[in-house]
């Protein structure tokens, strides 16, 4: 990466631009975030804690973490495989694969949820099979995971592809001539080279997976304490005029996102040298 020469702002125009950017950020990001916390704690700490201490709230938090814990590793594995295929082989339909990979970015999450209903719902294509064998996919954990996986599909692959493209295959070829076997090459050469990008992708994917609303909303069925993830739980409590409950849950979701962000910044700070080295070389 080339370092751009940045300098301190000097002219009035530069200061104005800076002020505008800060103001805008404050208005769009900081203000709503503060609002969440202020509302959540508007009646003090005890009601806040009480709102989070209900069975439904705890179930929603656990379910959100569980869905992310299943969906993110799945997408990590898929992301590595996809990035590997795309950057290591020349084949027909490569650009088509790339476009399909981006599809979840461009289609509405509602559709990403709806497709699972159409496939696995009671009236769906495979509905009869599931009914016969008493398997529940929609309105249950598998449906939530599927919807989340679909929405967050591109995050990790998209992070890896440009890096692996840039790094090329020379090191892997060299490892092969030195006698390394397939898995040895992957674990000793490929994975260490992509670990930071992979971690970035995982963090982004996690944040998105925990916050997903639209797709999950369609497949959830809104069974309180069973299939309500944190974002769904927030909406329902809010609609029931339980402002403290809704904002307390929102503060947890925002907190999870901030933890992810801090983790990412920490990694960047702690391993700045290695990061730069692995990108430069």
């Amino acid at each position: 990466m080339t370092a751009k020469a940045a300098r301190a702002p000097k002219t009035l125009g530069a200061y104005a631009l800076l002020a505008f950017a800060l103001l805008w950020l404050g208005l769009i990001i900081l203000l709503p975030l503060i609002n969440v916390l202020v509302t959540a704690f508007s009646q003090g700490l005890p009601p806040y804690l009480a709102a989070l201490h209900t069975e439904d709230a705890k179930a929603a938090i656990l379910l959100t973490l569980l869905v992310a814990a299943i969906a993110v590793p799945l997408n990590a594995i898929f992301g590595i495989c996809a990035a590997w295929c795309i950057t290591r082989f020349e084949f027909k339909g490569k650009s088509l694969l790339l476009s399909i990979l981006d599809l979840p970015f461009s289609i509405s999450p509602v559709i990403s949820g709806l497709v699972w209903i159409l496939l696995f719902g009671a009236q769906g294509w495979f509905g009869f099979l599931l009914r016969d064998h008493d398997i529940k996919i929609v309105f249950a954990l598998p449906g939530l995971v599927l919807a989340t996986v679909l929405v967050t599909l591109p995050f990790i692959a998209r992070e890896l592809i440009p890096l692996m493209e840039d790094q090329g295959t020379d090191e892997e070829v060299a490892a092969r001539t030195l006698g390394a076997r397939g898995w040895d090459i992957f674990f000793r050469v490929t994975l260490p080279n992509i670990k930071w990008a992979l971690l970035y992708g995982v963090l982004l994917c996690t944040a998105r997976a925990m916050g997903e609303f639209g797709a999950v909303s369609v497949v959830s069925g809104h069974i309180r304490g069973l299939t309500d993830t944190l974002p769904l739980y927030i909406e329902i409590t809010y609609n029931q005029y339980d402002t403290i409950g809704a904002f307390a849950a929102a503060s947890i979701l925002a907190g999870l996102a901030i933890v992810t962000l801090v983790l990412k910044s920490l990694l960047e700070w702690r391993f700045a040298g290695e990061l730069a080295a692995s990108r430069r070389h």
Partner: protein, 344 residues
């Protein structure tokens, strides 16, 4: 002969990369594969390493059919133009890689690996740099590490794919001398790919010139240099002057003068070639009429660029003390080749 390459053919989708390539290398020999880009030299190297398989032909080493062995059993050390060092490993870890990935049964002990790494670090004169990362090294140092890494597996053949291609002229020269020494010390059969004729002639015991996937000529540097087998080899090995002439009874006849022909040639009209350092310039007498367009220093020589009356360009080289020193831009002179090469 230890390495035998026989009638090897390789075709990529509708594009023949190698056509009936055949040559052999003695044990410990240093062979240079010389050719322009697209001549198939890197393809041949990849076939030897087992990274690709030929469509037809045989490759064997000391009687063993190499095509039946997968890359890791061939014990072939490869050095790439891009170095291809493992960027997340230190120099020492890079060198030890080939030993560390061996199956537990064949893997040397930790102490043995350590002493091998130390020995190789000494060999590449980087004793103190084992803990550095590749990004902290210069290009020349990186390529030395790459060579040490390839040597660590105690290879039977060493393959070098334009190893000095990404380095500047001074470093190249230095590494060339150093590689020669390493080859002398290790005695491993070496195949060196390059498009730099000077490098090939300087390093190799024998040079294989490739053109469009075919072997054009095989010979020692001296043979290749003094008896190029084709116009392609002649032109590829250095600057070539061209002039039309007529050969009769082994003598080339020009307009008003003649010159001896190197090698045998049938009578007839030819485009004759001669080297810049095998030509004589004078103010009077017989020769091709030329005008001096530039006088330049070229190391121990003086290089003159000349232009014929019909616009043809020529180049000559003379020692600094010769009478050529008296010529300057704009002078009209006579150019007379001392020896010409004739190719049909």
């Amino acid at each position: 002969m230890s390495l035998i390459i026989k009638n090897v053919n390789k075709t990529f989708t509708n594009f023949p990369a190698l056509k009936d390539v055949t040559f052999e290398a003695r044990s410990g020999e240093f062979i240079a594969l010389l050719g322009p880009s697209g001549s198939g030299k890197t393809t041949l190297l990849r076939l030897l390493a087992g990274l690709d398989t030929p469509n037809a032909g045989e490759i064997s080493f000391e009687g063993e059919n190499y095509l039946k062995l997968n890359p890791r059993d061939r014990r072939v050390g490869m050095v790439f133009q891009s170095y291809a060092l493992f960027r997340h490993m230190t120099v020492a870890q890079n060198i030890a890689f080939g030993l560390n990935v061996r199956p537990a049964k064949e893997r040397p002990s930790k102490a043995e690996i350590k002493s091998t790494v130390e020995r190789l670090l000494k060999l590449i004169q980087m004793d103190d740099l084992g803990k550095r990362y590749p990004s902290q090294l210069s290009g020349g140092q990186r390529q030395r590490v790459a060579l040490a890494r390839a040597l660590a597996i105690n290879p039977r053949i060493l393959l070098l794919d334009e190893p000095f291609g990404a380095l500047d002229a001074l470093v190249r020269k230095d590494l060339r001398r150093w590689l020669k020494r390493i080859h002398h010390e290790t005695g491993v059969t070496t195949i060196f790919v390059t498009h730099d004729q000077e490098e090939a002639l300087d390093l190799a015991d024998r040079v294989v010139v490739l053109k469009g996937g075919k072997v054009e000529q095989i010979g020692t540097p001296l043979e290749i240099h003094s008896q190029p087998s084709s116009a392609f080899v002649f032109d590829f090995l250095g600057s070539a002057n061209k002039a039309n002439g007529h050969i009769k009874d082994g003598i080339a006849h020009f307009d008003g003068f003649s010159a001896p022909v190197a090698g045998a040639a049938n009578d007839g009209d030819y485009t004759l070639r001669f080297r810049p350092y095998e030509a004589h310039l004078s103010r009077t007498g017989a020769g091709i009429p030329v005008t001096v367009t530039a006088v330049l220093p070229a190391g121990s020589n003086l290089r003159l660029e000349l232009k014929g009356t019909d616009g043809a360009l020529f180049e000559t080289q003379h020692s600094h003390g010769s009478e050529a020193q008296g010529f300057s831009v704009g002078d009209t002179l006579r150019l007379k080749p001392e020896r010409v090469y004739a190719y049909a």
